[in-house]
Amino acid sequence: MAEIEAVDVTRSYRMDGVSVDALRGVSLTIEEGDYAAIIGPSGSGKSTLMHLLGCLDRPTTGTLLVGGRDVGTLDDSELAELRNQTIGFVFQSFQLLARTTALDNVALPLVYRGVRRAERRKRAAEALDAVNLGHRVGHKPTQMSGGEQQRVAIARALVGEPSVLLADEPTGNLDTVNGDEVMGILERLNKERGVAVVLVTHEADIAARARRIIRVRDGLIEAVAEAPEPS
């Protein structure tokens, strides 16, 4: 079964009576353990697509199946539960709680799953270990570099053991060295744990590392390029 399946999905926004069509009919399948990069010019609808894939939003028309469930038929709480269970988000601007330690930031998704505090902390510590930040559990985001903050964010996306990681420009705020490290971690998770990774990027060399490159323009998928099997 595909992790995510979008069939002819559209999303339009209504603003002062004017309708903006951010997505105009997108069909896309994310397989188990997939590794896909979404590229395209600014305003083409990449983030909108990511929000839909991540159940933060519902399509205006079309069918979207996430984890086998039809997103259009779920109410807000069911949607919240679905994304808590199946999706891990990584944002361009990290989105960490500033006054909260790395450990508690990472544990946050488990709070909404009703996991006990001790268990949460244990699993958060393991997730931080997996991104090589086991020694920074007690540090707050303001005490960390951008690359470290994004690794904390990846640990947070990872802690609930989701089947899909969605990363919207995860290296957009990082220099090359830190960007490479973040990409390395994402790829390792993809390879070792079989987590499907979907990322949006503006950088061609980062997109080139994915198994599939999905090119978006004006709310439509313009092309899908399968990367040659790495030799």
Binding site: S77, A80, R99, L108, Y112, G114, R117, R156
Partner: protein
């Protein structure tokens, strides 16, 4: 989300903005403290007045001209001293009816002065009102018959006029007229400036001359038992109505005075508590305001929590709990301050503040309710935020 976690998150949020949380609480703190203190003062005043009136004795019935109501000026009396004998005959009990004619006067003894309630009385007053003497004697029948200028002092008056000497046999002057001290009352106690210890008594005939009046204020009779009070009162009123056709008279008993005063003071307490309650409401508006600011400031955080799986009700309860915590901590501090202020008041002022447990429970309940009521709107707003929009805000 687990309840303990909700408490932790709410508490952390309040602690992160310590000063703001404290200032927001202040409205509730002041409101709650005011409710507790004002209710305590009201209760204390009621207790004080009650014990005062009870001191009169439960068998006594007063008969006064006009329709008697507390808070209205008494009607001009046409009652005469001779009516006392008439009423004695009606009751069939010689010397049962005590007479009163009261005015306030400046008393002077040497260089000492004292402003006192001067009561013109008959010789049976000591028996009717149970006012034992500490020294000397009370006004006698002969004093009344001859309007002799003699005076019996309450302990407060005696202490003020004769701080270092025995007053018996000495002279006190009122409006230039000299009175000779013949007796001293035993102390009865009281507070609020209405203690019987401040009274001085003179023969009613001397009082009429001194005040330039020929009438008297009213009568007092001691019934045999508390059960007889109403019957005796009715009998006296009927007799006076017969004599003074067309005039109204009223019999008042201690129970009635207590009832009326109690009602007035309870009402006063309620009004005070309600005024204090208004400041609680104002405090609530402040909480609402700050919570709205807080929701706006933390829009991004709300978006993130939702992206990570927080449901509408998780976010709503987080902010609601924060508001309720704010007001209930304020409530507890306010109760502490209120108790402290009440205890201080009753220790250092003559006002005995009596803490009412119901006002404490009520004040706490109201502060929690204020948190819920004023917190729910900002919390719903937070819960309803669209995660995509929330995450995009800067």
């Amino acid at each position: 989300m687990r309840v303990t976690e909700s408490f932790r998150v709410a508490f952390d949020a309040l602690r992160a903005n310590r000063l703001r949380s404290l200032l927001t609480m202040l409205g509730v703190v002041i409101g709650v403290a005011a409710v507790v203190v004002l209710v305590a003062i009201g209760g204390g005043a009621k207790q004080l007045v009650t014990s005062e009136v009870e001191g009169l004795g439960s068998n006594i019935v007063f008969v006064v001209p006009g329709k008697f109501q507390i808070g209205t000026t008494p009607a001009v009396s046409r009652l005469q001293l001779s009516d006392a004998d008439y009423l004695n005959r009606v009751l069939g009990r010689p010397d049962a009816v005590a007479v009163d004619l009261t005015s306030a006067e400046d008393l002077r003894a040497g260089t000492n002065t004292y402003y006192a309630s001067v009561q013109g009385t008959t010789s049976n007053v000591v028996d009717v009102f149970d006012r034992p003497l500490a020294e000397g004697r009370y006004v006698s029948k002969a004093d009344i018959a001859t309007a002799r200028r003699v005076i019996v002092l309450g302990p407060d008056a005696a202490a003020a006029l004769f701080p270092n000497t025995d007053p018996i046999g000495r002279q006190v002057s009122m409006s230039g007229v000299e009175f000779r001290v013949i007796g001293l009352f035993q102390a009865k106690g009281g507070a609020f400036g209405v203690s019987p210890d401040t009274e001085v008594h003179i023969p009613v005939t001397a009082a009429q001359r001194l005040f330039g009046m020929d009438n008297i204020s009213g009568f007092a009779v001691k019934a045999d038992t508390p059960g007889d009070v109403d019957a005796v009162g009715a009998k006296l009123v009927d007799a006076l109505k017969q004599k003074y056709q067309g005039d109204e008279f009223t019999a008042v008993s201690q129970t009635e005075i207590l009832g009326t005063i109690g009602k007035i003071l309870s009402m006063l307490t309620l009004v005070l508590a309600a005024i204090a309650g208004i400041s609680l409401l104002v405090g609530g508006v402040g909480v609402s305001n700050i919570m709205l600011v807080s929701v706006r400031e933390r829009t991004k955080e709300i978006g993130l929590r939702k992206a990570l799986g927080a449901r509408q009700r998780d976010v709503l309860s987080q902010f609601l709990l924060e508001a309720v915590m704010l007001t209930s901590i304020g409530g507890v501090i306010g109760i502490g301050l209120g108790i402290g202020a009440s205890v201080t008041l009753s220790a250092f002022t003559p006002l005995p503040a009596v803490l009412a447990w119901w006002s404490i429970v009520l004040a706490f309940g109201v502060s929690v309710a204020v948190g819920v009521f004023f917190g729910v709107m900002p919390a719903r707003r937070a819960g309803r935020l669209d995660p995509v929009v929330a995450l995009r805000t800067e």
